[in-house]
């Protein structure tokens, strides 16, 4: 106690001296101010005595930072009391109700403010102040007002919040301005719910623990609501994860019941009232901090949204010291490893498929997946339990159906997907969201409900020519409340869908064209060598023989047609149709025999064909004979029909010819096969 006083007292002297030597202002004027505002004098005196209480209670833990802060605030309050001219004092906070939730690693402060306009001028802005050392950890700030009364009650509207730097305000405070929806007239009041979330504000104390110890953390804040306005009635309640409190600052009107500590009510406190409090309590909630999380969302218009999340996770609580015994941990995980966390649960959207969980060395098998129509849950366990200061990095990925996330409106397409991490408990220091759009999309715009840093890049992936446009969004200090939907609008022509198949098709087509060129190209070096000439001639002979074969085959088809016409005749008795068929066949056969002549002449003249020529000639002769017989048969049958002879008579007459025809046809077919083999 004595040491505290010794440390606190000297700090007053330089302040007083600096005040009297201050070159900017007239000292008399300052003193005037001092006297003119009784509230400010109050500020100076009342919290001061409370401060000493607070400091002494903390000093028993020899926690130097607390002391330092207390001193700094003394300084700052004194200067506030003197320098601050209460321009904004038109507003009065008639009731402030603060609830601080410490049940997780982030600090959630919900303040219900009843703002009243005590002045005459209408006011449209309310200022909120946070100490700098808290404000730098501020992750999320929102103000909600209940719009209207009676009928429309319950419809909540969030107010626009922005950082402001009002002039003449005391240092070491960060200011946020709330714009009210409608101006607050004289005597009117409005109720605001302000939610502020701070990360990395709970300090582990002691900073290093062994495996068997539980984790203790310290939370510091002001017992009074720091505000530029006069606060009439205020109270504060702090909710702890467990009813295990090492110590807490005792002020007047302090009550503790189970895991809740209540301060207040305090009445009629002037502006900038401040009294530090510190609560030292047990918290074994997972302190999972993702130092970096890269989420890659890749859209494929072929029906999939692929999400890949790369985590770089650390246990942000008290550092683990000493050795780690897996045996102890396995045997009694709640005693020997209370501060560690074993698993995390990711809430994925419904109908997520192809889920994987892996790291650099491969699949991690300790994961469970279950789901229903509303959600899919993925429980992942890192390769080892996470103790304070331990790190791990892993990747999870999943596919989502396209129609749940991609929509079309007014000629543009937009992706509507959640921004944050699917794991509730995790605080993210640096979140990078990359949205990979399909190749060929343009006119990209992004709408995110909170400020983010954004830029564009390109990514080369499967079957890409110029790369896919990627929208990159970066945000630091992300908590669960940031897991809101954001939209990426872009234009995309449906024809661009065909890029990928066209690429594959052109690949295959290139292969075929190469084959064709190879087969057509003549790669012989010496064009005059004997073997080459012989080969060329043989090619010609082969071509001629193929043509001959072709012609014979066509003749045989005509023969078949004639036979068919005879069959028709026997069925219908239509002699005219049969004659017409005969006529057509005759002319056609004549043409073919004309075509055959030059080929045969070429074969006869070519020395290369000497070997095969007899067969070809034989074939042609046989075919001609077959042709004659067939014609004979045809005319005989037609004759018989014209004479109206009976079926048996016709059969008798034709049977001998028919035998010949069948035999010849067989021979022709055999010859064709032989030539084919050559």
């Amino acid at each position: 106690m004595i040491t505290t006083n010794q440390k606190t007292l000297p700090s007053f002297t330089p302040l007083v001296s600096s005040l009297s030597l201050s070159p900017e202002g007239d000292l008399a004027a300052k003193l005037n101010l001092f006297l003119a505002h009784p509230h400010t004098t109050n500020t100076k005196l009342k919290p001061k005595c409370l401060n000493f209480q607070a400091l002494t209670s903390i000093s028993s833990y020899s926690y130097p930072q607390v002391k330092k802060m207390g001193i700094r605030f003394d300084l700052f309050l004194l200067s506030v009391a003197i320098l601050w001219a209460p321009v904004l004092s038109d507003l009065v906070l008639s009731k402030v109700d603060r609830r601080i939730d410490l049940t997780s690693q982030s600090v959630r402060v919900t303040s219900t403010l009843k703002v009243e306009n005590a002045g005459t001028n209408p006011v449209s802005e309310v200022l909120l102040a946070f100490p700098d050392h808290h404000a730098k950890n501020l992750a999320y700030l929102t103000a909600i007002t209940n719009e209207g009364k009676g009928k429309t009650k319950g419809s909540t509207v969030s107010l626009p919040v922005e950082v402001v730097h009002p002039k003449g305000m005391p240092p070491a405070l960060t200011w946020y301005s709330l714009s009210l929806l409608k101006e607050l007239g004289k005597g009117e009041s409005v109720t605001l719910d302000v939610v502020a979330i701070f990360t990395h504000t709970l300090r582990p104390f002691p900073e290093e623990i062994t495996q068997a110890e539980t984790q203790l953390v310290v939370f510091q804040d002001s017992a009074f609501y720091i505000s530029p306005y006069v606060v009439k009635v205020q109270s504060l309640s702090v909710k702890l994860p467990e009813p295990k409190v090492e110590s807490y600052t005792k002020l007047e009107n302090t009550k503790i019941s189970g895991s809740e500590i209540k301060y207040g009510p305090y009445e009629n406190l002037p502006s900038f009232s401040y009294t530090p409090i510190a609560i030292h309590f047990e918290s074994n909630k997972p302190f999972a901090v993702a130092q970096e999380l890269v989420r890659e969302i890749e859209i494929s218009h072929w029906g999939n949204v692929q999400v890949t999340e790369h985590y770089n996770l650390i246990h942000g609580g008290a550092q683990s010291k000493g050795e780690f015994s897996r045996l102890d941990y396995q045997a009694r995980p709640h005693v020997r490893g209370a501060s560690a966390f074993r698993n995390l649960v990711a809430k994925l959207p419904p109908r997520a498929h192809s889920v994987y969980y892996r790291d650099e060395i491969g699949n991690i098998s300790t994961s469970h997946l279950w789901g229903d129509s509303k959600k899919t849950q993925l429980e992942i366990e890192p390769r080892y339990p996470m103790f304070g200061g331990w790190r791990t990095s892993f990747t999870i990925g999943y596919g989502l159906p396209l129609q749940d996330f991609l929509f079309q409106s007014e000629g543009k397409r937009f992706l509507n997907i959640s921004f944050g991490c699917p794991m509730n408990e995790v605080v993210i220091d640096n979140l990078i969201v990359k949205v990979v759009l399909p190749e060929g999309s343009g006119d990209i715009s992004v709408s995110v409900p909170f400020p983010v840093k954004q830029w564009q890049e390109a990514k080369l992936s499967h079957l890409d020519l110029v790369g896919r446009p990627v929208v990159v969004l970066e945000k630091t200090n992300v908590v669960q409340e940031h897991d809101q939907h954001f939209q990426v609008h872009y234009k995309f022509n449906n024809l661009s869908l065909l890029r990928e198949p066209l690429m594959l098709i052109s690949g295959f087509f290139f292969l075929f064209v190469t084959c064709i060129i190879y087969m057509h190209a003549d790669l012989t070096i010496s064009k005059s060598s004997a073997s080459y000439v012989a080969k060329l001639q043989w090619d010609e002979v082969q071509a001629a023989i193929q043509q001959v074969q072709n012609i014979i085959n066509r003749c045989l088809t005509i023969h078949d047609k004639l036979e068919a016409s005879l069959r028709d005749l026997s069925r219908t008795g239509d002699v005219q149709a049969c004659k017409a068929a005969r006529k057509a066949a005759d002319s056609y056969l004549k043409e073919l025999s004309k075509e055959l002549k030059p080929l045969l002449a070429f074969l006869q003249s070519s020395p290369q064909a000497a070997q095969i020529l007899p067969k070809v000639e034989d074939l042609i002769a046989k075919e001609r004979e077959l042709q004659e017989r067939l014609m004979l048969k045809h005319s005989t049958v037609v004759d018989c029909y014209e004479k109206k002879l009976g079926g048996r008579e016709i059969e008798n007459r034709v049977s001998s010819i028919q035998q010949k025809v069948t035999a010849l046809r067989q021979e022709v077919d055999d010859l064709l096969e032989i030539i084919d083999e050559i």
């Binding site: 072929w302 029906g303 991609l406 594959l504 295959f508 064209v513 084959c515 087969m519 057509h520 071509a543």
Partner: protein, 78 residues
């Protein structure tokens, strides 16, 4: 979201991908086979370029779409 927004889905239902892949690849391979048979059997003088090109085009269209659907059904969303 805006009430006028209507969801976009894939031009071909996902469930068809494996079937489409099998059939288109089958047809593509058959046409490819006929192309190579033609190349190997017909003599250089009788070969018609038009026929070769048409067979090649048909085969590459079927093989191209077949391999696209094969990729899609394997989970490689291009």
């Amino acid at each position: 979201m805006a009430p006028s927004a209507k969801p976009i889905s894939s031009p071909v239902p996902d469930a068809w991908y494996p079937t489409l892949a099998v059939f288109m690849l089958l047809i593509g391979l058959v046409v490819t086979a006929s192309f190579f048979i033609y190349e190997a059997t017909s003599s250089r003088r009788n070969r018609s370029l038009a026929k070769e090109l048409t067979t090649g085009t048909v085969a590459s269209v079927f093989l191209g779409f077949g391999s696209l659907f094969l990729l899609l059904s394997c989970g490689v969303y291009v």
